[in-house]
């Protein structure tokens, strides 16, 4: 099994005709993801390398039965694109890759989607989801992954790759790798993903990558204590980050003592998570638990 995406995924890409959307959409297709449609208002009725393009997500869903949407539209229009996907009956999973969406847009869209839709929003500003051997929806280079039994969840894009790489290079495969994104208002959070991994029979261990800012790791720690029986290896970036400095992710702002990497590490250790100091040690730590 895998979570969020698998062989049943029918993917529509919003912004497939843009250069990034095209590159990654077709890389996902090449990996075996069932790419059924693209959406670009004004280009409906055309096709791109055999993939039909529609003017709207609703039309794409009606014509192709798409159940997952990847949002690859520019920051100024991405929030609207997420709303469109969430309003389309049949879209169960929305993966928003776009980086640089205004925080006010994210806050409005997150809450409105939660209040009015059953769609699951992953991202924005995330690398997407990869279920090795099944499907890839996002920008993670799929060749670094290996099918197996470890679930990966991360707030950081490139650290997700790093973690996958460390596992794969030791021959440890993954069920699904989920980048939840580092923006101030991400869609799903650690807890949502941990819950799915716990329920997934094929997942035997979990790697969780956090970073400074917010309290998502602390919330995850409470959830792990109460609901998780599977072993977790954790890593938190930003131990040496100076307080109050922004570190590229708007999310990575430290306020007072809460939100520090140290506090997050302590919270995770306190509930039995194996916390490593160095991403290079992730593979080793997981190997010791399996």
């Amino acid at each position: 099994m895998a979570i969020y995406i698998d062989h049943n995924t029918r993917l529509v890409v919003q912004g497939l005709t843009g250069s990034q959307g095209r590159f990654h959409g077709f890389r996902n297709k090449a990996y075996g993801t069932n790419l059924v449609a693209g959406v670009t208002p004004g280009k409906g009725g055309t096709d791109l390398d055999g993939v039909p393009i529609f003017d709207s997500v609703a039309e794409a869903v009606a014509a192709t039965g798409a159940n997952t949407s990847m949002v690859f539209v520019p920051p100024a229009f991405a929030a609207d694109g997420i709303l469109e996907a969430a309003a389309a009956d049949g879209i169960e999973i929305i993966v928003a890759i776009t980086e640089g969406i205004p925080a006010q847009d994210e806050a409005r869209v997150y809450n409105y989607v939660k209040q009015t839709s059953s769609s699951v929003l992953i991202g924005p500003n995330c690398p997407g989801v990869l279920s090795p051997g099944k499907a890839n929806v996002g920008i993670t280079p799929p060749e670094i992954a290996l099918e197996g039994s470890v679930g990966v969840v991360s707030r950081s894009g490139t650290l997700t790759y790093q973690a996958i790489h460390e596992l794969t290079s030791r021959g440890i495969g993954q069920t699904t790798c989920v980048g939840i994104g580092g923006d101030p208002v991400p869609g799903i959070s650690f807890i949502d993903v941990l819950e799915r991994f716990q329920a997934d029979d094929d997942t035997e261990a979990i790697v969780m990558i956090g970073e400074i800012g917010g309290d998502a790791e602390e919330q995850a720690a409470r959830f792990i204590e109460q609901h998780l029986t599977k072993p977790v290896v954790g890593y938190v970036a930003g131990v040496t980050a100076p307080p109050g400095k922004k570190m590229g992710h708007a999310g990575a702002i430290i306020s007072g003592s809460s939100g520090t990497a140290q506090a997050k590490q302590s919270a995770l250790r306190a509930v039995g998570v194996t916390v490593v100091d160095d991403p290079t040690s992730i593979g080793e730590a997981v190997a010791a638990l399996l």
Binding site: N111, Q162, T240
Partner: protein
Amino acid sequence: MDLFEYQGKSLFARLGVPVPEGRVARTPEEARTAAEEIGGKVVVKAQVQVGGRGKAGGIKLADGPDQAFAHATDILGMDIKGHTVDIVWLEQASNIAAEYYVSFTLDRSVKKHLAIVSAQGGMDIEAVAADTPEAVVKMHIDPVVGLTNWQASELVYRAKLDRATARKSAAALRKLYEAFVSLDCDLVEVNPLILTDDGEIVALDSKVTLDSNAFFRHPDFEDFRSAFTEDPMEKMARQRGLNFIKLDGSVGIIGNGAGLVMSTIDVVALVGGAASNFLDVGGGAGADTITNALEVLTNDPTVKSVLINIFGGITRCDLVAQGIVEALEGLELQWPIVVRLDGTNAVEGREILRGVVSDAVIPVETMREAAEKAVELAGKG
């Protein structure tokens, strides 16, 4: 982007939040003229992007133009927690009957906006919150509908602001919230929001952080930056689209993705070194981007070695390697570069580097190894 007090107040004024009349001055002479134009008693306030300027002597009351001149002379050029004062703001002195604290920000923990209001503003609000938490009222706001009238009203009454002027306070809260949302702010903080002797509500200070992701909606906001004395290296990096922050160590760090760069800095510390900077080239960096990043670091005399840590996703390792080769040719690099490449086109990238391997360009296999090597080299440099 953090604004100066006077810049934030100019935004408040746009939305109809009352602020005292004032002028900017960059010299004592300008301060004298400003005080003449304003008339009466004026407050001379250092414009710095850091708290605690009052205690540091950066805010002084002047009874007229001459004293404004004298205070501006004292304050301009002053160093407040590492920030040099280049600008003072002079404004009409207010008759304060009460000082409130108000802020609007995002509570990431619950993914809603958060209003914080207290009747005990003007002093250290964190101390108030610690000592008498009941004096600091917090309320979540659903971003879908924003701050409603009843919420503004309830904030005012629960925080025990003056009851006679409750409607005016509530209206000020609504306008400040409107500023927070419509101007795409990450933070709007007013401490103090004052009640004057004649029953008016006035924003006496402003702390506004703008969301630079939303500047496409507010093209004029870029102008605020011209007032900042930016670190030359940070400015150079920004103009080249690089995300750069100066740190205190000696190992220059270049990587792709904020998480990976933060992690690289941590690992450098773990093996006994210290990073001289945070430099994220972002996703999809080309050869030029890497050359630009290396050029930024040539301006930092504290750098003794450089660590390039790339995990290619959108970013292609062959282009990164190409950029390193071009930098070697075009720039005079004073330090060795340790390079770790993985992910998209890593094989091709390593192949390119093979042609320039030397004491100055050292490819390594893992992130940890890269950190160890870079720290070792920095120690020698």
